[in-house]
Point group: C2
Chain length 308, copies 2
């Protein structure tokens, strides 16, 4: 067989973050050129739970078509797996499938890396992370692949989680990741802040932000619950998202809906392709609202298959 069947252990072993971020940047160029096909998600609904399909194709440079499927059953059973399948978009030939749960977070991390590359100060050295889950880990890995980060600080309400995160990521990344005991101390000196929590109330205060900081928000960002205060948007010169269409299609509206900042949100791809200006000064505050552009999973899976 000419196709590949990979699992989480392969993904861990094979993945290098830099080429994955570069692939994501190429997808953003495809999005801007309208060669990215990403229809709304499709759901198979039953009483107990659903299967959700996000399908997509990047037909110009990446030449892949495929889909991710995951379940919405909420239970603690082991054995929940996502599948990401990749086909050649020119011939239709099957290239492979990745079975596991790492790819989704890896993809979101790489999108965060592309945002940091396009929006943060190029001399950013201090990075703060709020949150200690899988999303926080991949965001951090992406950030250090993009900027020459000298110091990483992490905060979580849970003391054990932040200590464990600091310990594990220090070893994994071979750099000092420091556990902080207050969110303010964590973020006030940061050039880049990554919020990757499950919190439905703001975890930082807009007054704590250093001029020039860039922020990625990966966690909740709906009207009914958001990890960032609306005032952060007020301080931001540039606000982006990876998909305005998906952001507007949220079942609960985005937290900036009906605020003065709603109309300021532009697509990250417009900055990457130079259609819109990004940061214009070293003291600009910039904000990226991550929604997880459909079709990116397929490209990331393909990139990992190429590393195999």
């Amino acid at each position: 067989m000419a196709y590949q069947v990979l699992t989480d252990s392969d993904v861990l072993r094979l993945t290098r973050m830099k080429p994955v971020i570069e692939a994501i940047e190429r997808v953003f160029r495809e999005q801007a050129n309208a060669t990215l096909v990403s229809p709304p998600r499709f759901q198979l609904e039953t009483e107990n739970g659903n299967l959700v399909f996000t399908a997509g194709a990047a037909t110009e440079t990446e030449k892949v078509i495929g889909f991710r499927v995951y379940d919405t059953y909420s239970n603690d059973h082991s054995g929940h797996e996502q599948l990401v399948s990749v086909f050649d978009s020119v011939t239709g030939v099957f290239k492979g499938v990745i079975i596991g749960n790492l790819l989704g977070a890896l993809r979101t991390g790489a999108i965060g890396g592309a945002a940091i590359n396009a929006m943060s100060r190029s001399d950013a050295e201090q990075l703060a992370i709020i949150g200690t889950g899988i999303q926080a880990r991949t965001q951090l890995e992406a950030a250090i692949a993009i900027r020459d980060i000298k110091r990483v600080m992490v905060y979580s309400r849970n003391d054990n989680n932040r200590k464990k995160f600091a310990e594990e990521m220090s070893e994994k990344l071979d750099m000092d990741v420091i556990s902080m005991d207050s969110p303010q101390k964590c973020v006030e000196k940061a050039d880049i802040i990554i919020c990757a929590t499950n919190s439905r109330s703001p975890v930082i205060d807009a007054d704590w932000l250093k001029p020039g900081v860039h922020i990625n928000t990966v966690g909740p960002k709906s009207m009914n619950g958001h990890e960032l205060p609306i005032e952060v948007a007020g301080k931001s010169s540039v606000i982006t998202t990876d998909s305005l269409e998906q952001l507007r299609a949220y079942s609960t509206p985005h937290f900036l809906t009906n605020t003065p900042y709603e109309q300021n949100i532009v697509q990250l791809s417009d900055i990457i392709t130079g259609k819109t200006l990004g940061r214009t000064s070293i003291s600009d505050v910039t904000l990226f609202c991550s929604v997880g552009l459909s079709g990116t999973e397929v490209v990331v899976a393909h990139e990992i298959m190429k590393m195999a």
Copy 2:
């Protein structure tokens, strides 16, 4: 990992047709009980070709949810593969995936077997097949798993194909499969006729039919092209399909649309569950129009996984 990844060679090695047909019969009971969820197919469309998703869940006896995906790219490249993925419909846990092209025809064969079981004479001994492709092969395997067939006759316009089919299937099934040099000679003594051709014009004549015969039509059956003449429907006391909804959703209308026979078509599941009478005499002619009920692929894949 607790899930299975199977390919065509596993399917060939593992599959026993009888339990697969029984699984299909249970799906028909689920269809009648409305515990089968089978939404319309979903397509990801691009300029070069599409991915087609048929998703479904059989939640009562089978307890599976999943989907089949295949591509519509028309080229001769090797490496086109279908995927059928199976999840537990109670927990959402992933059970496995079958990658290959055999499962689709196997599923259609088993549906044909269920139709033969519900509709053909129980003393059927003579079986005729028009067509020599993969669909003809699985239909034949299903038929002999269901009825005590003594004699199999095959016809195809292509002399080589029918000789090769007769030779290969004689060996595979350890019974005489006889190549016939005319379609009339092939079908006129048959108790069961399977039409599994690509022909868009009728391959048999209604006058050739023996009283009591049952017919499965697996090939083209649209208004613009059909392998059976409309007169066969006129001779039939019972006409069934595996899904009236799918039959009515064909992009080109079914060949019996706007004929006096359109209103006579009932769902096979109604006969299997006794809701509607099937054959009422040994001389009834009966007809099954196979459309490929969505959701059945997932159940067949699960059944094969159970055999592993």
